[in-house]
Symmetry: C2
Subunit: 246 residues, 2 copies
DNA sequence: CAGATAAATTCACATATATGTACGTTCGCC
DNA sequence: GGCGAACGTACATATATGTGAATTTATCTG
């Protein structure tokens, strides 16, 4: 069950992150198609908790810096090492595609750092974006780091759907693809989940954290050179990863 | 009306900001005294939206960097000028008390930047903290920047409560205190709102934004030297504020 | 490795909550 | 400066939602 008002809080914040200026009750209500009275209650709640204020009279609400203060506290714990950001920045620069660091979240894989391609046609992904762990290159690069038992436990929860023509729709299919990935030396996906999207990924264990790096873009651009891209990822990781670490 | 699940989202995030490590469903549920099933729904919603993930298997949930990414986007709009932070840092260092930048939010005043005192006994305030605009030094320093009509409009919404012995409990009382403040050259409060708390504040208009600076601490420490503190605030603002600006 | 224990998940129902409607206030326009 | 329209606010009611109990899944213990 989805908790509507919890989701609405997030929606409101994303709204402010987009428009980047104060908004009145009416504007927010209209934007989301919410009733005024409901919007009123929500804004009142957020204000009361110290997360919204009125920068100038009658110009509407805007988030207080409290969000930032809290996000900083949360994120200063085990931040990703600096070199991982350099990694995807370099990869994105060299390939012209979108590069990301990905982490597991149950049956999904979450993007926890992203450097976007500058191309007009590109893979549009944001931090927090989620994709099925079994039907994506990045996800399978995570699964490769699991034990057989852990994978089985994940499989049990997966609802296999035919997202595209090549989506693996059974445990067998996924396991086979994992074996192929090992043989190949990298994980790949050709529109297994998102239409027209291809990507190459490799596992990126850091300490006891299981992450992966992925470079993804339109099939027609990535497809022909996927092996090269994968090799580039591997080389770049070798270059940037501190040698001391396990 | 308070929107419970909206507030809960904030509570959860504050929880993570405090404990700074992943937490399982059970831990979160127990911490707040929420039913497991409700907690499940909330966590599922936050996860689905890409705000929580599972850093390592079976170690529970933790917020994704998405919070940070969003908070940054929101806060890069009209950030407070750098010198305002220097201002309160200097004030806190020199006085040994807590110094803050404050902004209006309806009938309340919100702390939008805070540098805390290092003293054992101190004014504990955080960014986002809210106090009544009419019953605090910082709030009245905001009201001083309003026109008479604007103030009247605020007064109409205020619910006058006797927070302490010296709380102004009428429009008259507030207006009188404002006049005294002008004569005095600064705003002050002696436990008008918070017990044992005294503070000195002055208006701090920046562009078309109406802000104030306040230094606050225990009555027994601040009380005797409140005039000095106020003078120090004024001098420090003069020193740090760029001369070019209006 | 099996049994026990704890955690996670599902589901149907009672209840807390979102909202339609109505009222008061503020603002823009002539 | 007064009128009209838009905005913000309160409240009662129907309804979406939180929750206790039951089920399944995972983890610990001997």
């Amino acid at each position: 069950m989805i908790v509507r008002q919890a989701a609405n809080v997030l929606e409101i914040m994303e709204f402010f992150a987009q428009v980047k200026k104060p908004a009145t009750l009416a504007e927010i209500a209209d934007h989301f198609g919410w009733p005024r009275s409901s919007t009123f209650n929500l804004l009142a709640t957020l204000s009361e908790k110290g997360y919204l204020y009125e920068p100038r009279p009658r110009a509407g609400f805007y988030p207080t810096p409290r969000w930032l203060a809290m996000a900083r506290m949360i994120s200063e714990v085990e931040p990703l090492p600096q070199w991982t950001h350099t990694l995807i920045a370099d990869l994105s620069a060299e390939t012209g595609e979108t590069a990301s660091i990905v982490a597991p979240a149950g049956v999904m894989a979450v993007f926890i750092d992203v450097v976007e391609s500058q191309a007009a046609i590109r893979y549009f992904a944001t931090i927090g974006h989620r994709v099925p762990i079994h039907a994506t290159a990045s996800g399978r690069a995570l699964l490769l780091q699991y034990s057989q038992e852990e994978r089985d436990s994940v499989y049990r929860k997966i609802e296999f759907k035919q997202y595209g023509p090549s989506t693996p729709i059974s445990i067998e299919a996924v396991e086979t693809e994992l074996r192929n990935s090992i043989a190949r030396g990298y994980c790949q996906s050709f529109a297994d989940y998102s239409r027209d999207l291809a990507g190459a990924a490799i596992p990126l264990p850091i300490g006891d954290r299981r992450l992966s790096v992925v470079v993804a873009g339109p099939e027609f651009r990535i497809g022909p050179k996927i092996a090269e891209v994968a090799a580039l990822i591997a080389r770049t990781v070798d270059r940037l990863r501190p040698k001391a670490a396990a």
